[in-house]
């Protein structure tokens, strides 16, 4: 019996491990400038499951963006460890992080961060170029994703010629064009009016339903209701994790 339980536990652990995409252990981030030392994150322990839609909330300056950047492998933690897709990526070099990031993680920003000199098509194409895809493959993918985002009629336009909502749709298209496992969004609706905001949230929901893990920073309670779970940060610490509902969506995306 005991043996059975132990085996059951081990099995559960293993399946849990498989189901978990992001594990942070005692994550700390300290920013040092000449005069001050800011502790942006303090002992953050998080588990985010594959296929989960997590929202991070908290007052301005509490470390949300910092956390998201570490999760997105744009930055290294000062202390603690970070396991991404069962790999310890805590102390990876910039080059290695870039390699992990490519095609696995998509970013969406509050200020869109589209490149002004490139057309909508070229903006969306960019990550594919860096992945080394051929031109014909790129074209097919970009057109497909622009279609999905309902923005293909604007492919030849420049970002300045689009409204904020349209720009954010392009940014989302750029984030998902590589079919990433994880989408990180930092206040994606921050610069949008409510109807455009809703549209973006619906898109994120759709992506999540088709199996993509989404981690989103937001100030809006309304937006956070789209998430399975809300993580509250305060002064660099996780203060509570409310589950909105049980995660039961299937199928979970294939291992990379």
């Amino acid at each position: 019996m005991q043996f059975y339980l132990a085996r059951q536990l081990a099995l559960e652990k293993q399946t849990y491990k498989l189901k978990i995409m992001i594990i942070t252990k005692d994550l700390c981030k300290v920013f040092r400038t000449e005069e001050v030392e800011t502790s942006a994150l303090h002992d953050v322990n998080l588990h985010i499951q594959r296929g989960e839609f997590a929202a991070i909330m908290g007052p301005s300056g509490c470390g949300k963006s910092t956390l998201l950047n570490i999760i997105g492998l744009l930055d290294n933690p000062s202390n603690g460890s970070y396991i991404f897709n069962n790999t310890d990526v805590t102390k990876k070099s910039e080059k290695q992080r870039t390699h992990f990031r490519k095609g696995n993680i998509g970013f969406i920003f509050q200020s869109f961060n589209l490149i002004d000199e490139l057309t909508v098509f070229e903006n969306v194409e960019l990550p594919l170029i860096y992945m080394g895809l051929t031109a014909s493959k790129r074209k097919a993918k970009v057109n497909e994703v622009l279609d999905r985002m309902n923005i293909s009629h604007r492919a030849k336009h420049y970002p300045q010629q689009l409204s904020g909502g349209q720009q954010q749709r392009v940014a989302i298209a750029r984030a998902v064009v590589t079919d990433p496992n994880l989408i990180l969004a930092d206040e994606p609706t921050g610069n949008l009016d409510s109807s455009n905001g809703t549209e973006v949230m619906e898109l994120l929901k759709e992506l999540n339903h088709s199996g993509t893990t989404v981690v989103m920073v937001t100030h809006s309670v309304r937006d956070s209701e789209y998430a399975d779970r809300v993580i509250h940060l305060f002064d660099g610490k996780v203060v509570s994790e409310n589950k909105h509902k049980q995660i039961k969506r299937e199928p979970i995306k294939e291992e990379l």
Partner: protein, 803 residues
């Protein structure tokens, strides 16, 4: 208001230290380079203008073409001066100068000095050249034979004082020592005079009887015109003198009229050259002193304008790039109600302030550069600099204009901004890719590449001339002058031949680079009765060996062959000139009698590399004077040979001063002025490259700063550092390629023309263009990549943090 503007301007400049520094230094270096080059140009044009009569003085030049031999000399017949005064009422005075062919030794106070600037002249020189007599009676001082006027500096050098009236100096005159009595001391002519005398003595001392023949043409003749005279009419009348005075002697000696001469394609011309043209427009090998070159003046003038242009473009480019960066600030200011006029004033005061500070720095740089340029070019530019306040005024104007232009361009550009658009961030200027700015940069690179190419080609030409086979071996060759002064020059020579340091030694009357006398030759058979002109020299039996001169045909004089005495050795140029099909054994009539050619030497450069090799004959050495000893020694034994020389000279010379030189040094000094001009030119092309790169550095730091966000986004999307570097370099490479393609043919054309002026010239190699283009490209890429590399090092998160 203005004060307030300046205050804000200063604060802005201070806040952007790197930008201000780059902009300031670029413009300062450009202005300084331009000022120094302008000084050089102004100085070259200042020659002989110190003379209050300068606009009324003309020199008589002769231009002759005989049998393919073309020469313009600055001299004419000594008779001409008197003739001009007689024939032309407008000529109120004339003076002649005769010069030593070789340096001679002058003894004073028991010491001897090698002297070159000893002139025979007429007393009228004092009036015409406005000489300042410091001691003695000017008018009377050249009245009698063997009186001499000494220059102030020479008096100080020889006697240590200028109280020298009545003292004597001794000069060698046709083998005899002749005493001259100092009758006056005159101020030296300023450095920017086309000649400088040390001693002036009466021409009567030289011509015991006044010359009456037009055959001699060795006198520098200057005339002074009346104040009311029509100078142009005079200049037009001068060529007519040939018909009246030269033709009779032409008929007498050569049995030819002027028409006959012209018919066979030759000519004899005379023309009057304004005094002020001599320095820049007269380049005969027989000038009293080496003159300047109008081409150099043009080149320097041109490059000074180019450098200034590069610097001004930089300044404008950087200012506009900077102001584009401030678009947001402008937008905010405008939306807050700042008037357009105020903004324009602000930009103008900023850029004018900067350009004036740059001028100040430039003036400091000029102070530093003047001594260097002076020592390179043997000039005294400092004096000119301080005595030409107008020049500074000119540059004040240029600085003001640059500041105004750059400032108003920015102001105009920015005041066009629609604040709404700017604030929305929809301004396309953000990427720093303004086509105007980029085309200006590529224009700068055109200039830079051009300067690069021309410097390289000019350098190659100089090297070519230096390396060119002289036809004799100038290395390890020591030349001793005045050996005729020794008790026995043969004993002297033998002393060297017996030394283990010495390979060979030879006595001769001339050595390559010295003055050669000329004479005429006639064929003795065939119909060809016309005279051929040639230079002649005498040298002992060891000459060809010592000099490393090769025989083309026949043999050189030998002691053991008595028949050589009636022989003649000629060079290949003469064989070609006289069209001798079978030179050995050809009998020629010479002023020294009938001679048979026994040998032909291969051509060697006996005058200068700037001239084509002319005809030359060697006379049998027996009984002829020899004044030089050439010593060929073993490599690296210079010091030993010198010691030997000093010892033997003291044994033989009875106090006569020793005068010697090394042939390779002499050739180096012949090319010194070219080399230094070249060096200066190289310095300025490097400066221009420096300024261009400085500008590019500033500009690319803006560009990358502007693109920080974009670079961050690209990196987040997975871009490698290399792809970022590639992206940032792509544009400039396109423009550079364009610049190279535009500039290369132009540079080729201009430099090809420049090379035409040389008798012997290098070919322009294609790889020069590749080298220049590649160097400019590498420099540009290095500049940009450095900035780009800094940008890629930035944390992408950081780049996106601030909007």
């Amino acid at each position: 208001m203005i004060w307030n503007n300046l205050k804000i301007a200063f604060r802005n400049l201070w806040r952007n230290k790197i930008y201000s520094f780059i902009n300031l230094f670029g413009l300062a270096i450009g202005l300084a380079g331009c000022i120094v080059l302008s000084l050089y140009v102004i100085d070259e044009y200042s020659y002989d203008k110190h003379n209050k009569n300068h606009s009324r003085i003309y020199r008589m030049n002769t231009s002759v073409k005989m049998n393919e031999f073309e020469l313009t000399h600055p001299t004419s017949s000594p008779v001409l001066a008197a003739t001009l005064i007689e024939d032309f009422p407008e000529v109120i005075d004339a003076t002649r100068i005769l010069q030593l062919f070789e340096p001679t030794v002058i003894e004073a106070d028991g010491r001897g000095f090698t002297e070159n600037n000893f002139y025979w002249t007429d007393p009228s020189i004092i009036k015409i050249f406005d000489l300042q007599i410091l001691k003695g009676n000017g008018e009377q001082s050249l009245k009698n034979l063997y009186q001499v006027i000494i220059s102030e500096k020479t008096a100080l050098k020889y006697f240590g004082s200028i109280d020298v009236i009545g003292k004597q100096v001794k000069m060698d005159d046709s083998g005899e020592s002749q005493a001259y009595t100092i009758s006056a001391v005159a101020k030296d002519l300023p450095y920017n005079s086309h000649f400088h005398f040390h001693f002036l003595t009466s021409i009567k001392t030289h011509f015991k009887n006044e010359v009456t023949s037009y055959n001699n043409d060795g006198a520098y003749t200057y005339v002074l015109l009346d104040e009311k005279a029509n100078a142009e009419a005079f200049v037009e009348k001068v060529p007519g003198l040939v018909k009246k005075y030269i033709e009779p002697s032409l008929k007498a000696y050569k049995k030819m009229s002027l028409e006959d001469l012209e018919k066979q394609g030759d000519y004899y011309r005379m023309f009057a050259m304004p005094l002020t043209d001599i320095h820049l427009h007269s380049n005969s090998i027989y000038e009293l002193e080496k003159n300047g070159d109008i081409n150099n003046v043009y080149i320097f003038l041109f490059s000074s304008i180019l450098i200034l242009l590069i610097a001004c473009i930089n300044f404008t480019n950087l200012s506009t790039a900077k102001s584009a960066q401030r678009a947001k600030e402008i937008g905010v200011r405008k939306s807050l109600g700042s008037s357009r006029k105020r903004l324009i004033m602000q930009f103008l005061s900023e850029s004018i302030l900067l350009s004036f500070v740059a001028l100040l720095v430039a003036l400091l740089l000029v102070e530093l550069m003047i001594p260097i340029v002076n020592s390179l070019l043997d000039k005294e530019l400092g004096e000119l600099y301080y005595s030409t306040p107008n020049l500074i005024l000119l540059f004040l104007g240029i600085a003001l204009f640059t500041g105004l232009f750059a400032g108003s361009y920015s102001a105009f550009y920015l005041s066009k901004f629609d604040p709404a658009k700017v604030l929305k961030g929809n301004l396309k200027s953000g990427n720093g890719k303004s086509p105007l700015r980029q085309s200006l940069v590529s224009f700068q690179f055109c200039i830079t590449i051009f300067l690069f190419v021309s410097t390289l080609i000019a350098h190659q030409q100089m090297e070519y001339i230096k390396q060119k086979n002289l036809g004799f071996d100038k290395e390890d060759l020591l030349i001793v002058r005045n050996v005729q002064k020794l008790r026995s020059k043969e004993v002297f020579k033998t002393a060297f031949l017996n030394s283990s340091y010495v390979i060979d030694a030879s006595l001769s009357n001339n050595i390559p680079g010295s003055f050669y006398d000329g004479c005429s030759l006639w064929k003795t058979s065939g119909d060809d009765k016309k005279p051929y002109s040639t230079r002649f020299t005498t040298a002992d039996f060891d000459f060809a060996k010592t000099m490393g001169i090769k025989m083309a045909k026949g043999h050189y004089f030998s002691k053991d062959r008595a028949s050589d005495k009636a022989g003649l050795v000629v060079n290949e140029a003469l064989v070609k000139d006289m069209n001798l099909t079978n030179p050995i054994g050809t009998v020629l009539k010479t002023p020294m009698g009938i001679k048979t050619i026994i040998g032909v030497v291969k051509d060697f450069h006996f005058v200068s590399l700037h001239m084509k090799i002319g005809s030359l004959i060697f006379l049998h050495p027996e009984g002829l004077p020899q004044s030089h000893l050439a010593i060929k020694f073993h490599k690296h034994q210079k010091k030993e040979v010198l010691n030997l020389l000093k010892y033997n000279w003291d044994q033989q010379a009875s106090g006569f001063p020793l005068d010697y030189f090394f042939m390779d040094d002499k050739f180096a000094s012949l090319h010194k002025s070219e080399n230094n001009t070249m060096l200066l030119f190289s310095i300025f092309s490097i400066l221009s490259i420096l300024i261009t790169c400085l500008g590019l550095l500033g500009l690319s730091s803006f560009t990358t700063e502007q693109r920080t966000k974009e670079i961050g986004v690209r990196k987040i999307l997975g871009a490698s550092n290399f792809s970022i570097l590639k992206m940032l370099n792509k544009d400039i490479l396109k423009w550079m390629l364009f610049a190279i393609i535009i500039t290369s043919p132009l540079a080729w054309y201009i430099m090809n023309n420049w090379l035409e002026a040389f008798a012997y010239r290098t070919t322009i190699e294609w790889y020069i263009f590749i080298i220049s283009g590649a160097t400019a490209m590498i420099l540009a890429m290095a500049t940009i990549s450095w900035q780009a590399w800094l940008a890629t090092k930035k944390d992408p998160v950081e780049a996106l943090r601030y909007e």
